[in-house]
């Protein structure tokens, strides 16, 4: 019979034994069972916010910056709004993305090994892709189609592709070009036009997944990117007034290309005379029905 006091050490030893057994057995099982090819995972990005305070002490102060930078425009470019350091990416600290040497007030030393644009295709694989290595190409809930897959492959393989910041802007510094078409145009469209990107890629459908089951170009019906939900009624061959104006397109038209009408006039209107057939349009127009 075991002594009563041994309950406590035995319980603790059992827990220790179980943990040891688990840690030993799991790799053995993984060895015995055929393993699929592991997904390559990048090394961890070194978190260096605590070493970045000296960067900030200079870059958030125009006075400090003016001691080494004389050009006003350059000074403005290098100045960091203190509010930006509390953004999601700003909280990672300057050195986490930009490199350099931390904890020094020596300007030359501080900028050794600096990466001016960590989102550039030559750097992004080592910086941005640590966290964002699994971004989607199609984002159907936002009707967005992006070239992420090609860009990420390019970054990994060393091709010359656009930088993350071309669309997303300097994410730790407040800019969000992706938030508006105007912002995107400044980064993407001009560059794509300059590089002779095929014209269909410059249309709405170059970036957007069409949310309707139709094959027409978006710009055929939609007036503007700001008021995308209002459609270009002027292109409609008959004026939509009264009850007609309240109908959605596909209550009358057929998907996917609007060709033909699925509803005839007689589906809603009664024929007030005996002559003729159900095709009212043979004699009537909506503007002057009588």
């Amino acid at each position: 019979m075991l002594p009563r006091w041994s309950v406590i050490p035995l319980a603790l030893a059992l827990v220790g034994g179980i943990i040891g057994l688990g840690v030993l057995v799991e790799p053995l099982i993984q060895k015995v069972v055929a393993q699929p090819e592991p997904t390559p995972t990048p090394a961890l990005l070194k978190y260096r916010a605590p070493q970045s305070w000296e960067c900030l002490s200079c870059h958030i102060s125009r006075d400090q910056l003016s001691q080494t930078v004389t050009d006003a425009a350059e000074l403005e470019r290098l100045w960091i709004d203190p509010a930006e350091i509390f953004s999601t990416h700003g909280r990672l600290g300057c050195m986490t993305c930009h490199g350099g040497t931390g904890d020094t007030q020596d300007v030359t030393l501080a900028h050794q090994g600096l990466i001016p644009n960590p989102a550039d295709y030559r750097e992004a694989a080592k910086v941005c892709l640590h966290c964002h290595n699994n971004v989607r190409t199609d984002i159907p809930e936002k009707h967005i189609h992006t070239p992420h897959e090609r860009i990420l492959t390019g970054m990994r393989e060393g091709w010359e592709v656009c930088a993350c910041s071309n669309c997303h802007g300097p994410v730790a510094h407040g800019a969000k070009p992706i938030a508006s078409h105007e912002g995107l145009a400044a980064y993407c469209i001009d560059c794509h036009q300059a590089r002779n990107v095929p014209p269909e890629r410059l249309k709405c459908s170059g970036c957007h997944i069409i949310p309707h089951d139709i094959t027409l170009d978006c710009e055929v019906c939609h007036r503007s990117t700001r008021t995308w939900s209002s459609v270009r009624l002027a292109v409609h061959p008959m004026e939509l007034t009264g009850a007609h104006a309240e109908l959605s397109c596909f209550e009358c038209h057929q998907r996917p290309n609007f060709m033909g009408l699925q509803n005839a006039c007689s589906a809603c209107h009664q024929r007030p005379h005996d002559f003729g057939d159900d095709n009212c349009e043979r004699c009537h127009t909506p503007e002057g029905f009588r």
Binding site: I8, I19, C131
Partner: protein, 323 residues
């Protein structure tokens, strides 16, 4: 697949759950299990005494795992003041729970071993504690068992809340308790698992070893354990089915568990050792009224092992959402 959390977090989540669960089981027998009928009752003795040490070991592993905890330990203090973070809630829970668990364990030792109590009373260097010896031992113990139980539920749930707080980044961990209900499943799963593993340690193994598995409410205890194993099986099924239904990263996690790289661990250590084998063992024990040595030891060890592997599997198969 997430690569930041592996064995070490799995071990401290397991120790946290087991420590909290052990105190809960001990307190349950303190209040409802006729603790006072026996001079020596292994369930509350083991449950109360191992709880504090297991939690301390878990916390040490946690601090060791935190890079900042090793390099700049004073930064751990910041964790006490960031009240919007679940980490801070956990730090406060543990800060209160560990001393309570240690005191409760100490009182249980004094209650079980009166000779130890007498020996301590006779020490000169403990004279200043004379006023404490006049307190009614069992009533004081019950106060600590009560406070400890409330905190233990918090600690057991917290290990699941910690994971579900990371949930938006790793969808499997934020699986809701029911579709459309914005309450995560992990805290409940971890609470059930904490109780089941603690029951395995204190009832299945230690009571079988030290008391032949027989005590007044043993049949009822095995039925409760049977219900816990069934609940765990249902919660794991729900976790995986929901993940498959959700698609994306959650489905990939579930696929890794059921069919992929971690399938052997899942089928051997979760399905077989955590569910099928203990279910059979406990149906047998509930029918008989107590565990035979073989059934008590084997089902107890299998449940403990599967509790560890459940946490490891959930951690290691976390596939990050698209960022």
């Amino acid at each position: 697949m997430q690569t930041a959390w592996g064995w070490l977090p799995a071990i401290y989540l397991f120790l946290g759950g087991l420590g909290a669960g052990s105190l809960l089981i001990a307190a349950l027998f303190e209040f409802y299990g006729d603790r006072d009928r026996y001079d020596f009752f292994p369930i509350p003795l083991a449950g109360a005494t191992v709880s504090g040490p297991l939690l301390i070991l878990g916390v040490l592993l946690l601090i060791f795992e935190l890079g900042a905890g090793r390099r700049e330990p004073w930064r751990i203090l910041y964790m006490f003041t960031h009240f919007s973070s679940v980490m801070t809630w956990g730090v406060w829970l543990l800060t209160f729970f560990i001393p309570i668990a240690l005191i409760y364990g100490f009182l249980e030792v004094l209650d079980t071993f009166p000779a130890a109590c007498q020996w301590l009373k006779g020490r000169r260097w403990l004279r200043w504690t004379a006023f404490l010896w006049n307190l009614p031992l069992r009533r004081t113990k019950r106060v600590f068992a009560g406070i400890g139980s409330a905190l233990a539920v918090g600690v057991a749930i917290y290990t699941g809340i910690l994971l579900s707080a990371v949930g938006p980044a790793i969808p499997l961990w934020s699986t809701p308790i029911l579709p459309g209900v914005h309450l995560p499943l992990m805290p409940l799963l971890f609470l059930v698992s904490a109780l089941s593993t603690a029951d395995a340690l204190t009832v299945d193994i230690l009571t079988t070893l030290f008391a032949g598995g027989r005590f007044r409410y043993s049949r009822r205890t095995h039925l409760i354990h049977l219900a816990l194993i069934t609940a765990e099986a249902l919660l794991i099924s729900h976790l995986l089915l929901h993940a498959f239904g959700e698609g994306g990263a959650a489905a990939e996690s579930a696929r890794q568990i059921v069919l992929g790289q971690h399938a052997p661990v899942f089928w051997i250590f979760i399905i077989l050792l955590a569910i099928i084998f203990p279910l059979v063992g406990h149906i047998y024990a509930a029918g008989l009224g107590w565990h035979m040595l073989a059934s008590g030891l084997s089902s107890g060890i299998s449940i403990l092992l599967s509790g560890l592997f459940l946490r490891y599997l959930i951690l290691i198969s976390g596939v990050p959402a698209f960022l």
